[in-house]
């Protein structure tokens, strides 16, 4: 965690338990004590496999969900338990971009309506909102003349641009982007990745970029947090985490990503994990990664390792009893 005087976003011991499917079954701890900061203008990548709690974390930060424990502090103010009415002025600054552009846009509304809605909610006049919408369309690379078209008239990449324009309408400082490119065709992903980079530079946005694709996250983020079963197992500057992963899970995850280079693929040593990620309804005792971990020892089965600095002088933190030496 960086210790900037006051980060834009401060998340501490955040947790979310969902009730179990049956009356007497144990609650599912989707997120179990997550802490990190995001500085203004910075991108934190949040990576992990399905069910690790990364999307739930994002949804708590924009308060689509109310956390069951812990706190979300935005710009110095604890927003974890604010009411919808108290949240309304903050919605301007905290926005979200979703994975599937088509299902997150109302098919019966025109682009004009979709993008200007947040503006009208915040009190703009109809004429101002329309003018601003045309500007936003231009900003994200859409043709402003298409303002009265419907979402189905746009391709997937263009629809995602609409989603991004909508999130930018009220001039946010933090955008939580949940898998913003994973539903797009490969040849279109780069357009959106570049667009998000350009917008960050021009508007000074901070991103929480949630994704399962480690190559995309490496491209966009300054720091990266790796989640496993509701917890952060490693967090630090991108250069360190990608070049010298310290947690065995991070190492396995990186080594599993196929490289578009046949010679490198043949030469590569892969760490293949056994089994699937366990269910968050019944997490293993101790370190929750131990059943799949190639280096697990006795202590790993009984004691959960805290997230701590493993290499003196580094900001990177690892939750492992036996981290890789850097």
């Amino acid at each position: 965690m960086t210790t900037t005087p006051q980060p834009l976003l401060r998340v501490r011991d955040l947790a979310m338990s969902f009730p179990g499917r049956r009356a007497r079954s144990a609650p599912v701890r989707a997120v179990d004590g997550v802490s990190f900061d995001v500085a203004a203008g910075e991108t934190l990548g949040l990576v992990g496999e399905s069910g690790c709690g990364k999307s739930t974390t994002g949804r708590m930060i924009v308060r689509l969900l109310e956390p069951t424990a812990g706190s979300v502090t935005y710009d110095g103010r604890d927003i974890s338990h604010l009411s919808q009415r108290e949240l309304k002025p903050l919605r301007k600054e905290l926005q979200m971009v979703f994975q599937d552009p088509h299902s997150s846009l109302n098919p019966r509304q025109t682009v004009a309506r979709i993008i200007s809605d947040p503006l009208m909610v915040q009190g703009s006049s109809a004429a101002d909102a329309r003018k601003r919408t045309a500007e936003l369309m231009e900003l994200v690379g859409l043709i402003p003349e298409h303002i009265d078209r419907y979402p189905h008239e746009f391709s997937g990449g263009q629809a995602q641009r609409i989603g991004i324009a909508r999130s930018l309408a009220t001039g946010p400082r933090l955008v939580v982007a949940d898998e913003p490119v994973s539903a797009l065709d490969v040849s279109v992903q780069a357009q959106i990745v570049n667009l998000m980079g350009r917008l960050q530079q021009e508007l000074g946005l901070a991103y929480l970029f949630i994704a399962h694709d480690l190559s995309v996250v490496k491209r966009v983020c300054d720091r990266v947090a790796v989640m496993y079963l509701g917890r952060i197992v490693e967090i630090g500057p991108k250069e360190r985490v990608y070049a010298a992963p310290a947690h065995p899970y991070t190492r396995a995850l990186l080594s599993a990503v196929p490289l578009p280079d046949p010679a490198a693929e043949r030469a590569r040593e892969r760490i293949t994990l056994l089994g699937d990620p366990p269910s968050p309804a019944a997490p293993p005792p101790g370190c929750s990664f131990h059943p799949r971990c190639p280096k697990a020892q006795a202590i790993c089965r009984t004691e959960a390792p805290p997230l701590r600095v493993a290499t003196p002088g580094e900001t990177r933190q690892v939750a492992c009893h036996f981290p890789e030496a850097a």
Partner: protein, 334 residues
Amino acid sequence: MTDTQPLLSVRDLTVTFPTKRGPVRAVDSLAFEVRPGRTLGIVGESGSGKSVTSLAVMGLHSGAEVGGSIVFDGQELVGLGERALNRLRGRRMAMIFQDPLSSLHPYYTVGEQIAEHHRVHFGSGRAVARRRAVDALAEVGIPEPERRAGEYPHQFSGGMRQRVMIAMALACEPDLLIADEPTTALDVTVQAQILELIARLQEERGLAVIMITHDLGVVARVAHEVLVMYGGRAAEQAAVDDLFARPSHPYTRGLLDSLPRLDDSDDEPLRAIPGSPPSLLTPSPGCAFAARCAVAAAGSDEERARCETERPPLDGPAGHPVACHFPAYEGIAS
């Protein structure tokens, strides 16, 4: 290496769907071969025709018009009757899909579904078929196969379900396995397991595999030969090392350039391909990629007009077949 006879040989394959807005040609003049023990990777994006191609090979297009020739182990499949196809499908060629849950019947146990397969194709008795189902589950690395055979699909995780699909596909010991985005819905650590499993089974049995994917990383890992498709046609065909060392079609080059990768520096912005994949409803008379192509855009007016109006033939001055009027050769590249 490639002196064995091809198991599957496809020539001039076209697949046309009748629609309200007129016929749509989803696959156009495609040709490829697959040999025993080898993997052909078919790469493409949405609408490229990659999945339609695989369904055509399996004879699974009701309503579509399939033209050209598909020869499997010496037998022509185009125009073959359902009964004859049924003897091949599942028995000598099998297919696995992206979403295993929707390909498995929710009401029957996994063991029953694999066993039924065996009984239909081999006429084996219940006990034998069940024994074979348990063996098949063990072979794809499912722990406690005896117990798991009695469970239902929803009781399996995504990765385990895909193993069940593979067990079912391979229970009758087919010669050809078509895998259509088999790992796209899976997590990356589970993807690695499934790709390793397919590679091991291929080695043990000399399976021919068609791996359909949008992921160039997966292709680099598993394929021997690669077919890059765009807008229903072949854009480029090459041995895997050749393709990655000398990508010659502007689309292939564009894809490789636009890919964020773990093994590069992040200093420069990605070189994105502008625009989106084309609609098959309004096909271009020329090259399907012309509207997005950097080479066409940089050409003279005449050159650009040629790309837009004249379909480039698939031929090989670049060393392997490329469908482009102005392919990039090694040395002349960008």
